[in-house]
Amino acid sequence: MAPPEITRRGFLKAGSAALGALTTSQFAFPPAAQAARTHHLDADGDGYIPTMCEMCVWRCGVLAKVEDGKVIKLEGNPDHPHSRGKLCARGQSGLMNTYDPDRVLFPLIRAGKRGEGLFRQASWDEALDVVARNMLKIKEKYGPEAMIFSSTHNLSQVQFENLLNGYGSPNYGTQRSLCFNAMVTAFSLTYGVEEPSRNYQDVQYILLTGRNMMEAISTSETGEMVDAISRGAKLVYLDPRYTKTAAKSAEWIPIRPGTDAAFLLAMIHVIVTEQLADCEFVKRYVVGCDDLPKAMENYTPTWAESITGIPAETIDRIAREYAAAGKNALAHPGWRTSNFINSFQTERAIATLNALSGNVLTPGGCLAAESPEASGVHLGKPPQPAYPRVSALRLDGVPWKYPLVPLKLGVFQELRDAILTGQPYQAHGWFISRQNPVLSLPDRQRTLQAMGKLDFIVVVDILLNDSAWFADVVLPEASYLERYDPLAVVDGKIFIRQPVIEPQGEGRSALWIYKQLGERLVLGDFFQYQDEEDYIRQQLAPLDLKLEELKLKGFLIPQIDTENPAEPVFNTPSGKIEVYSETLGDAGFSPWPTWEEPPYPKPGEFYLLTGKVAQHTQMGTQNNPLLHKYEDEPRLWIHSDPAWKRGIRTDDMVRVSSPVGEVKVKALVTEGIRPDCVYLTPGYGHLSKGLRTAYGLGASDSDLHVTYTDPISGGQALSQTFVSIKR
């Protein structure tokens, strides 16, 4: 079947049909949940409704069990490629995200000083009017660029971006520079793809650095890796900490933080000087292969031993084992990879190792040179006018200060600093949606100071998170079990998130909130949908698919012709894999993967490591009572030798100080960490007393992190802060 023709007329027809079918009242969308239920539920109102998880960004398919209008259990949807019938601890706890006794159920307007936590309940009309009035005032007085917008990876982000682009601000903060800038920038420059997908089907050898897969869980991928290990694949894992992934690895390499690139460059050195690579593949598809041995000349295993602390023979052996596995070897790209300012080079070395193994694009190869999102399915969207022209510089320094950072990644920490310095101009307002920069950005004191300089702060969330605690207006969102979001496409299937219960209190979907604000900001043309269902119908229109069917099944498979390109072409300037990158050279950086010496701690200081636990997502889930029930107490890991020297025993309170702050936290004395490192369980140390379960637990590394930005990728170096520990 040929792809359905997308005509303006068909588009409008679908749109108006949708309009006719709906009784549209601005405040009366909840019956949507009722409608969803009538399809799935029996006469008693019980049954399963398919939807999508939002406890992290992996978006597993969910079957929500509903009884008497309440969600009583969540199951993984077997038809969804990300869940395959399973949900992780966070996914299983999702109903307590909705039923959290600390939910914000009504719009709130600040009644005391900022940070006092005094709010009064307001109507939606009043709260939206206050937000719109303040945003219009800032635009009129200082220009739209004085308003900062920030949000973290979510399905409604597209309409959030519509709001900020329609408003005309270039200042957009996302989590990306605190997370994966190094990986995305390096793979974009080398392969022309942001994040290549992994194929575990035939994997025999996995080199894993920068991804604690057994605790930073993506349900399907974690499961696939366990399957691979169970099948006999060898997992070699580089991490200064003995994580649960280390416990499952064949070989744990407790590498010195910040020196992964040296280890990997020495592997490349061995492979190219001994000619162990897949020569045919490399010659055809890789730019720079002829000169690579010369470029890697000095990166011998002996050289790497002096930097990493890993014996030269171990590096040499692993390089040979990796090369011997050929296309069945995988050097995993990692995820939250911005650890040091040289992390971009670590990622470039990982990209190079994959290129040398010939695992890209070969049948049975372990790395696909396309994004997981790439599927050839093109959804429709509501019509809208062109965005206003933006002439102001971006406060985050992209691209005028950071020329190679992709525009959509940005440098969030720089944006925060620009609020403080007022350079190149002063920001006055901040619109935060589903994000908690008070805990996610490094150097919390600076973030709080920056917030103190602003005239107006509005937060959209389901809880009074730490940023909402300091806001002027808090708009209560409906939880992911109570609302629609724009559709998601995974592996050629279109999935829906739909309300399975009515919203608690006056929670509203982001699609509704942004549209209401858009209309009040005279940006109604950017929100041409009647309600959430109409928005989704417009998304489905070009594919000739029906919302009712999608709601019933939870997913649809559109008929599209996929062309298999005869010859792989990489989306880089040369069309090949650019181990040698002229783009980098032209910008004044090394065109080769290269060693950049990271800073080292002074004697008596420790690397402060951050990481993940399997029971929580960043700093957003600690208030969930079910996850709290099964979490480990957040503590500071310290190796037994330095602990003994300082007289520290497990559960002693210790003081951790960095150049920017100090926290007190309980110690966990363990053999499972390098003696020169400490690790602070992430996501705790909440300031908001509106989080009654989480408040008072643990400490926040954002109190300690010094702001260091990688000049190439813009990533915040999250493990480059050194601390001293006292009892």
């Binding site: 259990k73 993984g76 019938g85 601890a89 399957d227 003995y242 992934t245 499952k248 399997a614 029930k629």
Partner: protein
């Protein structure tokens, strides 16, 4: 026995993510201060950098000779002949808690709010409609398996057939082995430090019932008397207060 339901746990696959624990709590409305199932952790063993760590999923072993059934005075705890599962009838349970003390696996708890003992029932409510127990259905690493051990074609039987190693946490009580129905494969759980403990009772199997059952009924009677006295006293005193 028609079916002999049991668990096979692939120790090599458990990553201690605790999805099973949350799933169980939600499915069975387990109170926040209790849990029906566990993932036990050997802790980091060895000296840096030669380390090892084992995670052991754990719940009621649904023993063939369950010590909990033997001590149950009300007959609430029983070995179900149709499924082979060890179950508790909440209507019959008097909440005395002897079974909690008698279980060498610490797999039971007293639900104070309901006044009854509770434990893993292998999500019988799910199994009856063709679903897997909640912990098994959601196990991210594929470590927990459940099925009919009598059926040679079941997933659990196949897993046992293909296992590299098989262990059980046997315990000898009252002269015979508990014969637990959790089989641990592909990992050493005997070294993990979670061996069954001795029951907290030292009364012989038959003897103690003779002593305790009357004692309990006497106890219940006595508490009734005390309460009745107290009630009457309060009534009288309450009236006094009122008079003043």
């Amino acid at each position: 026995m028609k079916n002999r339901y049991g668990f096979v746990i692939d120790v090599s696959r458990c990553i201690d993510c605790r999805a099973c624990l949350v799933a169980c709590s939600v499915e069975n409305n387990v109170p926040m201060i209790h849990t029906r199932i566990w993932v036990k952790d050997s802790g980091v063993k060895g000296q840096f950098p030669g380390l090892q760590r084992t995670f052991v999923p754990y719940n009621c072993m649904h023993c063939d000779h369950p010590p909990c059934v033997e001590v149950c005075v009300s007959g609430a705890t029983y070995k179900d002949p149709n499924t082979g599962l060890v179950l508790v009838d909440p209507e019959a349970c008097i909440g005395c808690g002897f079974c909690v003390e008698a279980c060498p696996y610490d797999a039971r708890y007293l639900d104070e709010a309901r006044g009854v003992v509770d434990k893993c029932n292998a999500c019988l409510q799910r199994v009856e409609v063709g679903q897997q127990p909640a912990c098994v259905a959601t196990c991210v690493g594929g470590s927990r398996l459940f099925g009919d051990l009598n059926d040679p074609a079941s997933e659990v039987s196949m897993a046992l057939k293909n296992a590299r190693s098989i262990q059980r946490l046997d315990y000898e009580a009252n002269g015979h082995d508990t014969n637990p129905n959790i089989y641990y494969i592909n990992g050493d759980v005997l070294e993990s430090g979670f061996l069954p403990r001795d029951p907290r009772y030292n009364i012989a199997e038959e003897g103690w019932k003779k002593v305790l059952v009357p004692a309990i009924f006497a106890g219940i009677g006595a508490s009734f008397l005390v309460q009745a006295t107290y009630f009457t006293k309060q009534l009288v005193e309450g009236e006094k207060e009122f008079d003043e």
